[in-house]
Chain length 244, copies 2
């Protein structure tokens, strides 16, 4: 039903949570499940908790990294209760996040990413995301079980999908407004890094500076066209500096 929307579970510890998450997704019309190095999978607990969603468990793609899981996605929302040191554009209402997610899913692939039960997502994994979302909860006890968080965000996504403006109501987003995939963003980051080192701005790998610039560009949310523009600028700077 809800095409182009992917659920990614990163290093899930309890196989039962994979099964329960598969069930949660399926009740909300989502069927694209990707697992990044799950601790134990396949597993009878995953099958048992999946109930009638075993097809999703069996069809789940297993990959080695979050980068691989979301390379083709233009919007990647990390569900995380914990603040990180490099804040991404952040939704504090799942309902608002879901509307934007569904809007992009009209043309391109998007993903909701869930981290480990205890430890959430690492900083490197947050860097694979374009946005973060938190689920407003009891400040004294606000950590939902992993599959419950999947259920809530899938529920809001399905609601946004049901309430989406029909194609007759609003013009199809022009190609210029479409967002680049994570892979295209990664290529831009790599290009930016080469130019910074080539120019002498960065004399050695400086993760913090690079990550900070990446977060800045993430806030700008460049469209596919704008990213091409930036790549073109970088190419000119490269040619210009090599010519000197």
């Amino acid at each position: 039903m809800l095409t182009n929307i992917r659920i990614v579970l990163v290093q899930t510890y309890h196989p039962g949570n994979i099964g329960a998450s598969a069930r949660a997704m399926k009740t909300m019309g989502i069927d694209d499940l990707v697992l990044v190095t799950p601790r134990r999978f396949p597993d009878p607990e995953a099958t048992r908790l999946a109930a009638g969603a075993q097809d999703l468990v069996e069809g789940a793609r297993v990959v080695e990294s979050l980068t691989e899981a979301v390379a083709d996605c233009v919007m990647v929302v990390g569900a995380s209760a914990r603040l990180r040191s490099l804040p991404l554009p952040h939704f504090d209402e799942p309902e608002v996040m879901a509307r934007e997610l569904v809007s992009h899913a009209g043309h391109d692939r998007v993903a909701l990413v869930f981290g480990r039960e205890r430890f959430g997502l690492t900083n490197d994994e947050i860097r694979c995301c374009s946005h973060q979302v938190s689920i407003p909860a009891n400040p004294d006890y606000g950590i939902l079980n992993l599959s419950q968080a999947v259920q809530v965000l899938a529920y809001e996504t399905f609601k946004a999908w049901r309430q989406r403006p029909q194609s007759g109501d609003s013009p199809i987003s022009p190609a210029a407004e479409r967002m680049p995939t994570r892979q295209q963003i990664d290529h831009f980051h790599a290009h930016l890094g080469r130019v910074m080192r080539q120019s002498g701005f960065l004399t050695q790998p400086h993760a913090r500076t690079e990550a900070h610039l990446h977060a800045l560009f993430a806030r700008a949310q460049p469209s596919r066209r704008e990213l091409s523009l930036l790549r073109g600028l970088l190419a000119s700077l490269e040619r210009d500096s090599t010519a000197q």
Copy 2:
């Protein structure tokens, strides 16, 4: 945090669902849990799945009937995926239900009622409810796990509570607009039944006719004051008929 809001679980089969539901409620600031004849309780599975919500499991009230669980409540919403033969006022958007629930919870007790995992609520139990709510889901696979349904409705309730109009914004609902408790409704039903039999309208117990009239009055949603009016009318009819 969210006072006056109760979660009632009817004849839960899997103790793990009780624990997971307790956790789900607590993350959304709800702590009043009542269990109607749970199959196995207390149970280690309930404690295990409760995670940090063991206080709710330990403090849960266990009762013999749904009538007892909601006697003091003015709004009782049955969460049910299945249509019943005597339709109650029905919300097909949890978000809309939650706003009304939170509004009444400002002055009186309210409850969300969840049925058995496989069989939902019986017709008699639906009669203890003032409303029904369903969670919009995948038409091909739309039955959420019990604790997931609790999580979603608790989430919408918490959202409605966070977004409630502050007391400064709108006048406090006048006493005339407050709703009667289920116990007061039950007394009215009993009174109505006596008058119908006394008058010869019902020559023998006729459950279908009575239930149909109860559902009609449920749709009218009489306020506490209006119910007093109806009781007064019934009392006059009783005096009038005995006087003949």
